[in-house]
Protein backbone atom coordinates (compact mmCIF):
# COMPACT_ATOMS: atom_id res chain seq x y z
CA UNK A 1 0.00 0.00 0.00
CA UNK A 2 3.02 2.22 -0.04
CA UNK A 3 2.07 3.77 -3.37
CA UNK A 4 -0.95 5.44 -1.79
CA UNK A 5 -0.88 9.01 -0.51
CA UNK A 6 -4.18 8.58 1.24
CA UNK A 7 -7.90 8.13 0.89
CA UNK A 8 -10.34 10.96 0.32
CA UNK A 9 -13.93 11.03 1.47
CA UNK A 10 -16.08 13.69 -0.20
CA UNK A 11 -18.88 15.31 1.78
CA UNK A 12 -21.43 17.82 0.61
CA UNK A 13 -22.19 19.95 3.66
CA UNK A 14 -20.05 21.67 6.28
CA UNK A 15 -21.88 19.80 9.04
CA UNK A 16 -21.13 16.46 7.42
CA UNK A 17 -17.43 17.21 7.19
CA UNK A 18 -17.31 18.37 10.78
CA UNK A 19 -19.07 15.25 11.90
CA UNK A 20 -16.72 13.14 9.78
CA UNK A 21 -13.65 14.83 11.24
CA UNK A 22 -14.83 14.08 14.77
CA UNK A 23 -15.52 10.43 13.93
CA UNK A 24 -12.20 9.97 12.12
CA UNK A 25 -10.35 11.44 15.08
CA UNK A 26 -12.28 9.30 17.54
CA UNK A 27 -11.51 6.20 15.48
CA UNK A 28 -7.88 6.77 16.34
CA UNK A 29 -6.54 8.31 13.13
CA UNK A 30 -4.00 11.06 13.55
CA UNK A 31 -2.63 11.86 10.06
CA UNK A 32 -5.64 13.35 8.35
CA UNK A 33 -6.67 16.73 7.05
CA UNK A 34 -9.85 18.39 5.78
CA UNK A 35 -9.97 20.47 2.61
CA UNK A 36 -12.80 22.96 2.36
CA UNK A 37 -13.81 25.87 0.11
CA UNK A 38 -13.94 28.23 3.08
CA UNK A 39 -12.91 28.00 6.74
CA UNK A 40 -15.50 25.99 8.68
CA UNK A 41 -16.17 27.19 12.21
CA UNK A 42 -14.86 24.68 14.71
CA UNK A 43 -13.13 22.37 12.25
CA UNK A 44 -9.74 23.81 13.14
CA UNK A 45 -10.22 22.88 16.80
CA UNK A 46 -11.03 19.28 15.87
CA UNK A 47 -8.10 18.80 13.51
CA UNK A 48 -5.43 20.95 15.07
CA UNK A 49 -6.26 21.41 18.75
CA UNK A 50 -4.26 23.75 20.92
CA UNK A 51 -3.67 27.47 20.82
CA UNK A 52 -1.61 28.87 17.98
CA UNK A 53 0.52 31.81 18.87
CA UNK A 54 3.15 31.35 16.19
CA UNK A 55 1.95 33.75 13.51
CA UNK A 56 0.74 36.54 15.82
CA UNK A 57 4.05 36.41 17.68
CA UNK A 58 5.92 36.44 14.38
CA UNK A 59 3.98 39.50 13.23
CA UNK A 60 4.66 41.19 16.54
CA UNK A 61 8.34 40.37 16.08
CA UNK A 62 8.15 41.91 12.61
CA UNK A 63 6.61 45.03 14.11
CA UNK A 64 9.37 45.34 16.73
CA UNK A 65 12.06 44.79 14.12
CA UNK A 66 10.44 47.30 11.76
CA UNK A 67 10.11 49.95 14.43
CA UNK A 68 13.73 49.51 15.46
CA UNK A 69 14.91 49.62 11.87
CA UNK A 70 12.76 52.64 11.02
CA UNK A 71 13.92 54.62 14.01
CA UNK A 72 17.53 53.60 13.59
CA UNK A 73 17.71 54.58 9.93
CA UNK A 74 16.45 58.09 10.75
CA UNK A 75 18.35 58.63 13.98
CA UNK A 76 21.60 57.25 12.62
CA UNK A 77 21.47 59.52 9.59
CA UNK A 78 20.52 62.62 11.58
CA UNK A 79 22.65 62.11 14.68
CA UNK A 80 25.68 60.13 13.61
CA UNK A 81 26.18 60.13 9.89
CA UNK A 82 25.25 63.61 8.74
CA UNK A 83 24.00 65.86 11.55
CA UNK A 84 22.28 69.00 10.25
CA UNK A 85 21.15 71.74 12.60
CA UNK A 86 17.57 72.50 11.59
CA UNK A 87 16.48 75.66 13.40
CA UNK A 88 18.19 74.60 16.60
CA UNK A 89 16.16 71.43 16.94
CA UNK A 90 17.91 68.52 18.64
CA UNK A 91 19.70 66.15 16.30
CA UNK A 92 17.74 63.27 17.74
CA UNK A 93 14.31 64.92 17.26
CA UNK A 94 12.35 61.79 18.03
CA UNK A 95 8.82 63.22 17.68
CA UNK A 96 9.55 63.93 14.02
CA UNK A 97 10.84 60.40 13.56
CA UNK A 98 7.69 58.70 14.85
CA UNK A 99 5.92 58.71 11.48
CA UNK A 100 8.73 56.92 9.69
CA UNK A 101 9.08 54.54 12.62
CA UNK A 102 5.37 53.72 12.51
CA UNK A 103 5.36 53.11 8.77
CA UNK A 104 8.35 50.78 8.86
CA UNK A 105 6.80 49.00 11.84
CA UNK A 106 3.51 48.20 10.12
CA UNK A 107 5.24 47.37 6.83
CA UNK A 108 7.46 44.79 8.50
CA UNK A 109 4.57 43.37 10.54
CA UNK A 110 2.48 42.80 7.40
CA UNK A 111 5.43 41.40 5.46
CA UNK A 112 6.21 39.04 8.34
CA UNK A 113 2.54 37.98 8.29
CA UNK A 114 2.52 37.12 4.60
CA UNK A 115 5.88 35.34 4.67
CA UNK A 116 4.90 33.54 7.88
CA UNK A 117 1.60 32.45 6.34
CA UNK A 118 3.42 30.96 3.36
CA UNK A 119 6.08 29.31 5.49
CA UNK A 120 3.61 27.86 7.98
CA UNK A 121 1.44 26.49 5.17
CA UNK A 122 4.50 25.15 3.30
CA UNK A 123 3.72 27.30 0.28
CA UNK A 124 4.60 27.71 -2.51
CA UNK A 125 4.28 24.03 -3.30
CA UNK A 126 3.14 23.83 -6.86
CA UNK A 127 2.77 20.06 -6.99
CA UNK A 128 0.97 17.89 -4.49
CA UNK A 129 -0.33 14.31 -4.90
CA UNK A 130 -3.82 15.55 -4.00
CA UNK A 131 -3.98 17.58 -7.21
CA UNK A 132 -4.13 14.28 -9.11
CA UNK A 133 -7.36 13.28 -7.36
CA UNK A 134 -10.44 13.78 -9.51
CA UNK A 135 -12.60 14.94 -6.66
CA UNK A 136 -10.05 17.41 -5.32
CA UNK A 137 -10.83 20.29 -7.68
CA UNK A 138 -14.24 20.67 -6.10
CA UNK A 139 -12.72 21.25 -2.66
CA UNK A 140 -12.08 24.81 -3.81
CA UNK A 141 -15.70 25.23 -4.85
CA UNK A 142 -18.53 23.32 -3.25
CA UNK A 143 -17.36 20.06 -1.67
CA UNK A 144 -15.79 19.27 1.69
CA UNK A 145 -13.04 16.67 1.74
CA UNK A 146 -11.40 14.60 4.43
CA UNK A 147 -8.19 12.84 3.50
CA UNK A 148 -6.64 10.17 5.74
CA UNK A 149 -3.00 9.87 4.81
CA UNK A 150 -1.17 6.59 4.27
CA UNK A 151 1.48 7.54 6.80
CA UNK A 152 -1.05 7.13 9.61
CA UNK A 153 -0.05 4.10 11.74
CA UNK A 154 -3.62 2.79 11.70
CA UNK A 155 -4.05 3.28 7.96
CA UNK A 156 -6.17 0.51 6.43
CA UNK A 157 -7.81 1.24 3.10
CA UNK A 158 -10.71 -1.16 3.58
CA UNK A 159 -11.59 0.08 7.07
CA UNK A 160 -11.42 3.68 5.95
CA UNK A 161 -13.73 2.92 3.05
CA UNK A 162 -16.26 1.46 5.46
CA UNK A 163 -15.91 4.41 7.82
CA UNK A 164 -16.42 7.00 5.06
CA UNK A 165 -19.45 5.14 3.70
CA UNK A 166 -20.93 5.05 7.17
CA UNK A 167 -20.39 8.78 7.49
CA UNK A 168 -22.29 9.39 4.30
CA UNK A 169 -19.47 10.30 1.92
CA UNK A 170 -20.83 10.83 -1.56
CA UNK A 171 -17.59 9.61 -3.07
CA UNK A 172 -14.47 7.81 -1.86
CA UNK A 173 -11.23 8.04 -3.78
CA UNK A 174 -7.75 6.65 -3.39
CA UNK A 175 -4.94 9.10 -4.04
CA UNK A 176 -1.67 7.84 -5.51
CA UNK A 177 1.49 9.09 -3.94
Amino acid sequence: MSDLFGIIGVFDTPDAVKNAAIRVRDSGYRKFEAYTPYPIQGLDKILHPGTKWGLPVLMFGGAVFGAAWGYWIQAWSEVVNYPINVGGRPYNSWPAFTVGTFEFMVLCAVAAGLLGLLAASRLPQLYHPLFEARSFARASRDRFLVCIEATDPRFDAAAIGVLFTELGAERIEEVRA
Binding site: E33, A34, P39, H48, L55, V99, V110, G113, L118, D142
Partner: protein, 455 residues
Protein backbone atom coordinates in the same frame (compact mmCIF):
# COMPACT_ATOMS: atom_id res chain seq x y z
CA UNK B 1 -44.29 48.29 18.05
CA UNK B 2 -41.07 49.23 16.34
CA UNK B 3 -40.88 52.31 14.22
CA UNK B 4 -39.37 51.97 10.78
CA UNK B 5 -39.06 54.39 7.93
CA UNK B 6 -41.16 53.51 4.94
CA UNK B 7 -39.09 51.39 2.58
CA UNK B 8 -36.27 50.89 5.07
CA UNK B 9 -34.41 47.64 4.52
CA UNK B 10 -35.46 45.23 7.30
CA UNK B 11 -32.95 43.80 9.75
CA UNK B 12 -31.70 40.44 8.51
CA UNK B 13 -32.45 41.17 4.86
CA UNK B 14 -30.63 38.77 2.55
CA UNK B 15 -27.10 39.89 1.73
CA UNK B 16 -26.92 37.83 -1.44
CA UNK B 17 -29.84 36.57 -3.52
CA UNK B 18 -31.34 33.32 -2.16
CA UNK B 19 -30.69 31.41 -5.39
CA UNK B 20 -26.90 31.71 -5.02
CA UNK B 21 -25.28 28.39 -4.06
CA UNK B 22 -21.67 27.50 -3.45
CA UNK B 23 -21.52 25.95 -6.92
CA UNK B 24 -23.14 28.81 -8.79
CA UNK B 25 -21.11 31.40 -6.86
CA UNK B 26 -17.73 29.97 -7.86
CA UNK B 27 -18.77 29.33 -11.43
CA UNK B 28 -20.42 32.72 -11.93
CA UNK B 29 -17.47 34.75 -10.69
CA UNK B 30 -14.72 32.55 -12.08
CA UNK B 31 -16.29 32.35 -15.53
CA UNK B 32 -15.77 36.12 -15.86
CA UNK B 33 -12.06 35.53 -15.43
CA UNK B 34 -11.81 32.41 -17.54
CA UNK B 35 -14.04 33.35 -20.45
CA UNK B 36 -12.20 33.17 -23.70
CA UNK B 37 -13.36 36.52 -24.97
CA UNK B 38 -14.11 39.57 -22.88
CA UNK B 39 -17.53 41.13 -23.47
CA UNK B 40 -17.91 44.07 -25.80
CA UNK B 41 -18.32 46.63 -22.98
CA UNK B 42 -15.03 45.48 -21.52
CA UNK B 43 -13.21 46.09 -24.78
CA UNK B 44 -14.94 49.42 -25.29
CA UNK B 45 -14.05 50.54 -21.78
CA UNK B 46 -10.53 49.24 -22.03
CA UNK B 47 -9.97 51.02 -25.35
CA UNK B 48 -11.09 54.33 -23.86
CA UNK B 49 -8.89 53.71 -20.84
CA UNK B 50 -5.94 52.83 -23.01
CA UNK B 51 -6.47 55.90 -25.16
CA UNK B 52 -6.36 58.04 -22.04
CA UNK B 53 -3.25 56.20 -20.95
CA UNK B 54 -1.52 57.26 -24.16
CA UNK B 55 -2.53 60.82 -23.29
CA UNK B 56 -0.63 60.31 -20.04
CA UNK B 57 2.40 59.00 -21.90
CA UNK B 58 2.40 61.96 -24.29
CA UNK B 59 1.86 64.39 -21.43
CA UNK B 60 4.71 62.90 -19.46
CA UNK B 61 7.00 62.96 -22.45
CA UNK B 62 6.24 66.62 -23.13
CA UNK B 63 6.56 67.46 -19.43
CA UNK B 64 9.87 65.68 -18.97
CA UNK B 65 11.38 67.25 -22.06
CA UNK B 66 10.22 70.80 -21.36
CA UNK B 67 9.96 70.92 -17.58
CA UNK B 68 6.95 71.74 -15.43
CA UNK B 69 6.58 75.14 -17.05
CA UNK B 70 4.24 73.46 -19.52
CA UNK B 71 1.76 73.36 -16.67
CA UNK B 72 0.18 76.55 -15.40
CA UNK B 73 2.32 76.55 -12.27
CA UNK B 74 4.36 79.62 -11.48
CA UNK B 75 5.04 81.83 -8.47
CA UNK B 76 2.92 82.30 -6.35
CA UNK B 77 0.92 79.18 -7.32
CA UNK B 78 3.78 76.72 -7.48
CA UNK B 79 1.64 73.72 -6.54
CA UNK B 80 -0.80 73.19 -9.36
CA UNK B 81 -3.49 70.76 -10.33
CA UNK B 82 -1.13 67.81 -10.10
CA UNK B 83 -0.76 68.15 -6.35
CA UNK B 84 -4.46 68.78 -5.81
CA UNK B 85 -5.04 65.60 -7.78
CA UNK B 86 -2.42 63.77 -5.78
CA UNK B 87 -4.52 64.38 -2.68
CA UNK B 88 -7.65 63.46 -4.61
CA UNK B 89 -6.26 60.14 -5.83
CA UNK B 90 -4.81 59.16 -2.49
CA UNK B 91 -8.19 59.85 -0.87
CA UNK B 92 -9.92 57.65 -3.42
CA UNK B 93 -7.36 54.91 -2.81
CA UNK B 94 -7.66 55.20 0.97
CA UNK B 95 -11.40 54.63 0.72
CA UNK B 96 -10.63 51.17 -0.62
CA UNK B 97 -8.75 50.22 2.51
CA UNK B 98 -11.37 51.79 4.75
CA UNK B 99 -14.12 49.68 3.24
CA UNK B 100 -11.95 46.60 3.07
CA UNK B 101 -10.05 46.62 6.38
CA UNK B 102 -12.19 48.68 8.73
CA UNK B 103 -15.39 46.83 7.90
CA UNK B 104 -13.61 43.49 8.09
CA UNK B 105 -12.91 44.29 11.73
CA UNK B 106 -16.58 45.10 12.33
CA UNK B 107 -17.56 41.83 10.58
CA UNK B 108 -20.01 43.70 8.35
CA UNK B 109 -21.57 41.14 6.00
CA UNK B 110 -21.75 43.59 3.08
CA UNK B 111 -18.01 43.97 3.06
CA UNK B 112 -17.46 40.41 1.85
CA UNK B 113 -18.69 40.91 -1.70
CA UNK B 114 -17.38 44.44 -2.18
CA UNK B 115 -13.91 44.24 -0.64
CA UNK B 116 -12.26 42.90 -3.77
CA UNK B 117 -13.68 45.77 -5.84
CA UNK B 118 -12.48 48.14 -3.13
CA UNK B 119 -8.98 46.70 -3.10
CA UNK B 120 -8.69 46.55 -6.88
CA UNK B 121 -9.77 50.17 -6.95
CA UNK B 122 -7.18 51.06 -4.33
CA UNK B 123 -4.37 49.29 -6.16
CA UNK B 124 -5.37 51.08 -9.36
CA UNK B 125 -5.66 54.52 -7.75
CA UNK B 126 -2.51 54.45 -5.60
CA UNK B 127 -0.09 54.48 -8.58
CA UNK B 128 -1.96 57.49 -10.00
CA UNK B 129 -1.45 59.25 -6.68
CA UNK B 130 2.21 58.30 -6.59
CA UNK B 131 2.80 59.54 -10.11
CA UNK B 132 1.50 63.06 -9.45
CA UNK B 133 4.23 64.34 -7.10
CA UNK B 134 6.90 62.57 -9.15
CA UNK B 135 5.74 64.43 -12.26
CA UNK B 136 5.69 67.61 -10.20
CA UNK B 137 9.27 67.24 -9.01
CA UNK B 138 10.81 69.10 -11.88
CA UNK B 139 13.62 66.57 -11.93
CA UNK B 140 11.55 63.40 -11.75
CA UNK B 141 14.53 61.18 -12.45
CA UNK B 142 15.89 62.00 -9.03
CA UNK B 143 12.83 60.96 -7.03
CA UNK B 144 14.74 57.99 -5.63
CA UNK B 145 16.74 60.44 -3.53
CA UNK B 146 13.84 60.16 -1.11
CA UNK B 147 14.72 56.56 -0.33
CA UNK B 148 16.46 56.26 3.02
CA UNK B 149 19.40 54.53 1.42
CA UNK B 150 22.30 56.61 1.14
CA UNK B 151 25.77 56.18 2.11
CA UNK B 152 26.43 55.29 -1.49
CA UNK B 153 25.05 58.58 -2.75
CA UNK B 154 26.21 60.65 0.18
CA UNK B 155 22.79 62.24 0.35
CA UNK B 156 20.26 61.62 3.08
CA UNK B 157 16.62 62.62 2.92
CA UNK B 158 15.39 64.91 5.69
CA UNK B 159 13.24 62.76 8.00
CA UNK B 160 11.93 65.79 9.90
CA UNK B 161 9.92 66.90 6.88
CA UNK B 162 6.26 65.93 6.33
CA UNK B 163 7.08 65.60 2.64
CA UNK B 164 9.44 62.76 3.42
CA UNK B 165 6.91 61.17 5.80
CA UNK B 166 4.45 61.34 2.97
CA UNK B 167 6.75 59.53 0.58
CA UNK B 168 7.41 56.78 3.13
CA UNK B 169 3.69 56.50 3.91
CA UNK B 170 2.72 56.12 0.26
CA UNK B 171 5.51 53.66 -0.42
CA UNK B 172 4.62 51.50 2.57
CA UNK B 173 0.93 51.85 1.77
CA UNK B 174 1.28 50.50 -1.77
CA UNK B 175 3.51 47.62 -0.65
CA UNK B 176 1.23 46.71 2.25
CA UNK B 177 -1.89 46.95 0.13
CA UNK B 178 -0.39 44.53 -2.38
CA UNK B 179 0.41 42.05 0.39
CA UNK B 180 -3.03 42.48 1.92
CA UNK B 181 -4.68 41.96 -1.46
CA UNK B 182 -2.65 38.86 -2.16
CA UNK B 183 -3.32 37.31 1.25
CA UNK B 184 -7.04 37.74 0.61
CA UNK B 185 -7.09 36.54 -2.99
CA UNK B 186 -4.84 33.49 -2.61
CA UNK B 187 -7.69 30.98 -1.99
CA UNK B 188 -9.73 32.46 -4.84
CA UNK B 189 -6.84 32.03 -7.25
CA UNK B 190 -6.89 28.34 -6.31
CA UNK B 191 -10.56 28.21 -7.32
CA UNK B 192 -9.73 29.77 -10.68
CA UNK B 193 -6.90 27.27 -11.11
CA UNK B 194 -9.21 24.35 -10.39
CA UNK B 195 -11.87 25.60 -12.80
CA UNK B 196 -9.51 26.55 -15.63
CA UNK B 197 -9.82 24.37 -18.73
CA UNK B 198 -6.88 25.42 -20.86
CA UNK B 199 -3.36 24.38 -19.97
CA UNK B 200 -1.97 27.92 -20.12
CA UNK B 201 -4.54 29.26 -17.69
CA UNK B 202 -4.05 26.29 -15.35
CA UNK B 203 -0.33 27.04 -15.27
CA UNK B 204 -0.79 30.81 -14.91
CA UNK B 205 -3.28 30.62 -12.04
CA UNK B 206 -1.54 27.54 -10.65
CA UNK B 207 1.62 29.56 -10.14
CA UNK B 208 -0.29 32.52 -8.71
CA UNK B 209 -2.18 30.25 -6.28
CA UNK B 210 1.17 28.86 -5.04
CA UNK B 211 -0.36 25.42 -4.55
CA UNK B 212 -3.07 26.48 -2.12
CA UNK B 213 -5.13 23.44 -1.17
CA UNK B 214 -7.65 24.82 1.28
CA UNK B 215 -6.59 22.55 4.13
CA UNK B 216 -7.89 23.43 7.55
CA UNK B 217 -4.38 24.30 8.58
CA UNK B 218 -3.94 26.75 5.69
CA UNK B 219 -7.29 28.37 6.41
CA UNK B 220 -6.39 28.71 10.06
CA UNK B 221 -3.15 30.50 9.22
CA UNK B 222 -4.75 32.64 6.54
CA UNK B 223 -7.54 33.83 8.79
CA UNK B 224 -5.24 34.76 11.65
CA UNK B 225 -2.86 36.66 9.41
CA UNK B 226 -5.65 38.35 7.50
CA UNK B 227 -7.38 39.52 10.66
CA UNK B 228 -4.18 40.99 12.09
CA UNK B 229 -3.37 42.59 8.73
CA UNK B 230 -6.80 44.22 8.72
CA UNK B 231 -6.24 45.53 12.21
CA UNK B 232 -2.97 47.02 10.97
CA UNK B 233 -4.28 48.37 7.66
CA UNK B 234 -7.13 50.31 9.27
CA UNK B 235 -4.92 52.66 11.37
CA UNK B 236 -2.30 52.57 8.62
CA UNK B 237 -4.65 54.14 6.08
CA UNK B 238 -5.59 56.82 8.57
CA UNK B 239 -1.90 57.58 8.98
CA UNK B 240 -1.38 57.79 5.21
CA UNK B 241 -4.05 60.34 4.57
CA UNK B 242 -3.35 62.27 7.78
CA UNK B 243 0.26 62.67 6.74
CA UNK B 244 -0.89 64.03 3.39
CA UNK B 245 -2.78 66.56 5.50
CA UNK B 246 0.42 67.34 7.40
CA UNK B 247 2.13 68.28 4.11
CA UNK B 248 -0.22 71.22 4.07
CA UNK B 249 -0.56 71.84 7.79
CA UNK B 250 3.24 72.00 7.99
CA UNK B 251 3.28 74.80 5.41
CA UNK B 252 2.87 78.39 6.55
CA UNK B 253 0.52 79.40 3.74
CA UNK B 254 -2.75 80.87 5.05
CA UNK B 255 -5.51 78.30 4.68
CA UNK B 256 -3.05 75.43 5.03
CA UNK B 257 -1.52 76.07 8.41
CA UNK B 258 -4.32 74.40 10.30
CA UNK B 259 -4.35 71.55 12.81
CA UNK B 260 -7.62 70.20 11.50
CA UNK B 261 -6.06 69.01 8.23
CA UNK B 262 -5.25 65.39 9.13
CA UNK B 263 -8.81 64.44 10.17
CA UNK B 264 -10.29 66.70 7.49
CA UNK B 265 -8.40 64.77 4.83
CA UNK B 266 -9.39 61.47 6.32
CA UNK B 267 -13.08 62.44 6.26
CA UNK B 268 -12.65 63.27 2.59
CA UNK B 269 -11.18 59.81 2.04
CA UNK B 270 -14.15 58.13 3.71
CA UNK B 271 -16.69 59.81 1.48
CA UNK B 272 -14.85 59.96 -1.84
CA UNK B 273 -13.38 56.47 -1.60
CA UNK B 274 -16.74 54.95 -0.77
CA UNK B 275 -18.34 56.95 -3.56
CA UNK B 276 -15.89 55.52 -6.08
CA UNK B 277 -16.54 52.00 -4.78
CA UNK B 278 -20.30 52.54 -5.12
CA UNK B 279 -19.76 53.75 -8.68
CA UNK B 280 -17.57 50.80 -9.60
CA UNK B 281 -19.84 48.31 -7.83
CA UNK B 282 -22.81 49.56 -9.82
CA UNK B 283 -20.87 49.36 -13.08
CA UNK B 284 -19.35 45.95 -12.33
CA UNK B 285 -22.65 44.38 -11.30
CA UNK B 286 -24.24 45.74 -14.43
CA UNK B 287 -21.39 44.77 -16.74
CA UNK B 288 -20.78 41.29 -15.37
CA UNK B 289 -24.42 40.68 -14.46
CA UNK B 290 -23.60 40.03 -10.80
CA UNK B 291 -26.85 41.44 -9.41
CA UNK B 292 -27.30 38.29 -7.32
CA UNK B 293 -24.04 38.85 -5.48
CA UNK B 294 -23.83 42.63 -5.36
CA UNK B 295 -27.32 43.31 -4.15
CA UNK B 296 -29.38 46.21 -2.88
CA UNK B 297 -28.05 45.27 0.56
CA UNK B 298 -24.52 46.26 -0.41
CA UNK B 299 -25.54 49.50 -2.05
CA UNK B 300 -27.74 50.38 0.90
CA UNK B 301 -24.89 49.81 3.35
CA UNK B 302 -22.34 51.76 1.31
CA UNK B 303 -24.80 54.59 0.79
CA UNK B 304 -24.99 54.89 4.57
CA UNK B 305 -21.21 55.05 4.78
CA UNK B 306 -21.26 57.86 2.21
CA UNK B 307 -23.87 59.65 4.27
CA UNK B 308 -21.73 59.39 7.40
CA UNK B 309 -18.78 60.61 5.34
CA UNK B 310 -20.74 63.66 4.20
CA UNK B 311 -21.68 64.49 7.80
CA UNK B 312 -18.05 64.18 8.88
CA UNK B 313 -17.08 66.44 6.03
CA UNK B 314 -19.77 68.96 6.98
CA UNK B 315 -18.20 69.07 10.43
CA UNK B 316 -14.81 69.74 8.89
CA UNK B 317 -16.28 72.51 6.71
CA UNK B 318 -17.62 74.24 9.81
CA UNK B 319 -14.08 74.35 11.20
CA UNK B 320 -12.71 75.43 7.83
CA UNK B 321 -14.79 78.60 8.29
CA UNK B 322 -14.48 78.89 12.06
CA UNK B 323 -10.67 78.85 12.17
CA UNK B 324 -10.02 81.90 9.98
CA UNK B 325 -13.05 83.84 11.25
CA UNK B 326 -12.24 83.35 14.92
CA UNK B 327 -8.45 83.15 14.69
CA UNK B 328 -7.70 86.80 14.23
CA UNK B 329 -5.14 86.40 11.45
CA UNK B 330 -5.89 88.89 8.71
CA UNK B 331 -4.21 86.76 6.08
CA UNK B 332 -6.26 83.71 7.04
CA UNK B 333 -9.43 85.73 6.90
CA UNK B 334 -8.77 87.35 3.52
CA UNK B 335 -7.69 84.01 2.12
CA UNK B 336 -10.94 82.47 3.34
CA UNK B 337 -12.98 85.26 1.74
CA UNK B 338 -11.04 84.68 -1.45
CA UNK B 339 -12.10 81.04 -1.38
CA UNK B 340 -15.72 81.79 -0.66
CA UNK B 341 -16.35 84.87 -2.80
CA UNK B 342 -13.24 85.24 -4.93
CA UNK B 343 -11.81 83.53 -7.92
CA UNK B 344 -12.44 80.04 -6.54
CA UNK B 345 -15.99 80.75 -5.38
CA UNK B 346 -17.63 78.59 -8.05
CA UNK B 347 -15.81 75.35 -7.18
CA UNK B 348 -16.04 76.25 -3.47
CA UNK B 349 -19.84 76.36 -3.46
CA UNK B 350 -20.24 73.55 -5.93
CA UNK B 351 -18.07 71.34 -3.72
CA UNK B 352 -20.24 72.07 -0.67
CA UNK B 353 -23.37 71.24 -2.62
CA UNK B 354 -22.01 68.03 -4.16
CA UNK B 355 -20.32 66.58 -1.09
CA UNK B 356 -22.57 67.75 1.74
CA UNK B 357 -25.96 69.01 0.55
CA UNK B 358 -26.81 66.46 -2.14
CA UNK B 359 -25.70 63.37 -0.17
CA UNK B 360 -28.30 64.26 2.48
CA UNK B 361 -30.76 62.65 0.05
CA UNK B 362 -29.28 59.37 1.25
CA UNK B 363 -31.34 59.67 4.43
CA UNK B 364 -34.27 58.54 2.31
CA UNK B 365 -34.44 54.74 1.98
CA UNK B 366 -35.74 54.83 -1.58
CA UNK B 367 -32.75 56.87 -2.71
CA UNK B 368 -30.41 54.26 -1.27
CA UNK B 369 -32.13 51.67 -3.46
CA UNK B 370 -32.32 53.70 -6.61
CA UNK B 371 -29.29 52.66 -8.61
CA UNK B 372 -29.22 55.54 -11.14
CA UNK B 373 -29.60 58.09 -8.34
CA UNK B 374 -26.80 56.45 -6.35
CA UNK B 375 -24.59 56.54 -9.42
CA UNK B 376 -25.30 60.24 -9.88
CA UNK B 377 -24.76 61.11 -6.22
CA UNK B 378 -21.48 59.21 -6.00
CA UNK B 379 -20.20 60.74 -9.24
CA UNK B 380 -21.13 64.14 -7.84
CA UNK B 381 -19.21 63.40 -4.65
CA UNK B 382 -16.09 62.45 -6.59
CA UNK B 383 -16.27 65.62 -8.68
CA UNK B 384 -16.99 67.66 -5.55
CA UNK B 385 -13.98 66.23 -3.79
CA UNK B 386 -11.81 67.12 -6.77
CA UNK B 387 -13.07 70.71 -6.49
CA UNK B 388 -12.38 70.73 -2.77
CA UNK B 389 -8.77 69.71 -3.34
CA UNK B 390 -8.49 72.32 -6.07
CA UNK B 391 -9.86 75.08 -3.86
CA UNK B 392 -7.60 74.59 -0.89
CA UNK B 393 -4.42 73.85 -2.81
CA UNK B 394 -4.74 76.62 -5.37
CA UNK B 395 -6.98 79.11 -3.57
CA UNK B 396 -4.57 79.29 -0.65
CA UNK B 397 -1.52 79.84 -2.82
CA UNK B 398 -3.29 82.52 -4.84
CA UNK B 399 -3.85 84.52 -1.67
CA UNK B 400 -0.67 84.50 0.35
CA UNK B 401 0.27 86.93 3.14
CA UNK B 402 1.45 89.84 1.02
CA UNK B 403 -1.07 91.37 -1.39
CA UNK B 404 1.92 92.05 -3.63
CA UNK B 405 2.38 88.30 -4.03
CA UNK B 406 -1.21 87.49 -4.90
CA UNK B 407 -1.80 85.86 -8.22
CA UNK B 408 -4.07 83.57 -10.18
CA UNK B 409 -3.56 80.17 -11.67
CA UNK B 410 -4.86 78.89 -14.96
CA UNK B 411 -4.39 75.22 -15.72
CA UNK B 412 -3.02 74.64 -19.20
CA UNK B 413 -4.01 71.87 -21.55
CA UNK B 414 -1.12 69.80 -20.14
CA UNK B 415 -2.55 70.11 -16.62
CA UNK B 416 -5.79 68.65 -17.88
CA UNK B 417 -3.87 66.03 -19.83
CA UNK B 418 -2.30 64.89 -16.56
CA UNK B 419 -5.78 64.49 -15.05
CA UNK B 420 -7.17 62.67 -18.07
CA UNK B 421 -4.04 60.56 -18.29
CA UNK B 422 -4.12 59.38 -14.69
CA UNK B 423 -7.80 58.56 -15.06
CA UNK B 424 -6.66 56.47 -18.00
CA UNK B 425 -4.02 54.75 -15.90
CA UNK B 426 -6.58 54.06 -13.18
CA UNK B 427 -9.14 52.64 -15.61
CA UNK B 428 -6.58 50.54 -17.45
CA UNK B 429 -5.41 48.94 -14.23
CA UNK B 430 -8.96 48.45 -12.99
CA UNK B 431 -10.07 46.84 -16.26
CA UNK B 432 -7.13 44.46 -16.02
CA UNK B 433 -8.08 43.52 -12.45
CA UNK B 434 -11.61 42.98 -13.68
CA UNK B 435 -10.46 40.63 -16.41
CA UNK B 436 -7.73 38.63 -14.68
CA UNK B 437 -8.74 38.29 -11.03
CA UNK B 438 -11.99 37.25 -9.36
CA UNK B 439 -13.73 40.53 -8.64
CA UNK B 440 -15.73 39.13 -5.72
CA UNK B 441 -14.05 37.47 -2.76
CA UNK B 442 -15.25 33.88 -3.18
CA UNK B 443 -14.02 32.46 0.12
CA UNK B 444 -15.78 35.14 2.11
CA UNK B 445 -19.03 35.18 0.17
CA UNK B 446 -19.23 31.38 0.59
CA UNK B 447 -19.53 31.95 4.31
CA UNK B 448 -22.33 34.45 3.70
CA UNK B 449 -24.09 31.96 1.41
CA UNK B 450 -23.90 29.25 4.06
CA UNK B 451 -25.14 31.63 6.73
CA UNK B 452 -28.12 32.58 4.59
CA UNK B 453 -28.83 28.92 3.90
CA UNK B 454 -28.86 27.99 7.57
CA UNK B 455 -31.07 30.95 8.50
Amino acid sequence: MTMTFAGEMPVGAPVVAPNVTLTSLSEEVTSRVLMRRAPLWWWAGFMIAFLLLTVLAIQMGWLFVNGIGVWGVDIPVAWGLALAEYVWWIALASGGTIVSALFFLTRSPWRSATNRIAESMLLSAAPCAGLMPIMHLGRPGLFYWLFPYSTVMGIWPQPRSPLWWDFICLLCYILMSLMYYYTGILPDLATVRDLAQSKSKQIFYGILALGWRGSTQEWGHQRVVYAIMSAIMAPMVISVHSVVGLDFAGGLTPGWHDTQFPPYFFFGAVISGTALIVMLTILVRWGYGLQDLLTAYHLNAMAKVMLVGSLLLAYAYVWEAFGPMYGGSVADKTEFFHRVFGFTAAPFWSEKILTVAVPQLLWLPFVRRNVPLLLLISTGIIIGMWQERYVFVIGSLEHNYMPSSWGVYFPTVWDWAALAGTIGLFLTLFFLFLRFAPIVSLAEVREIVEEERSK
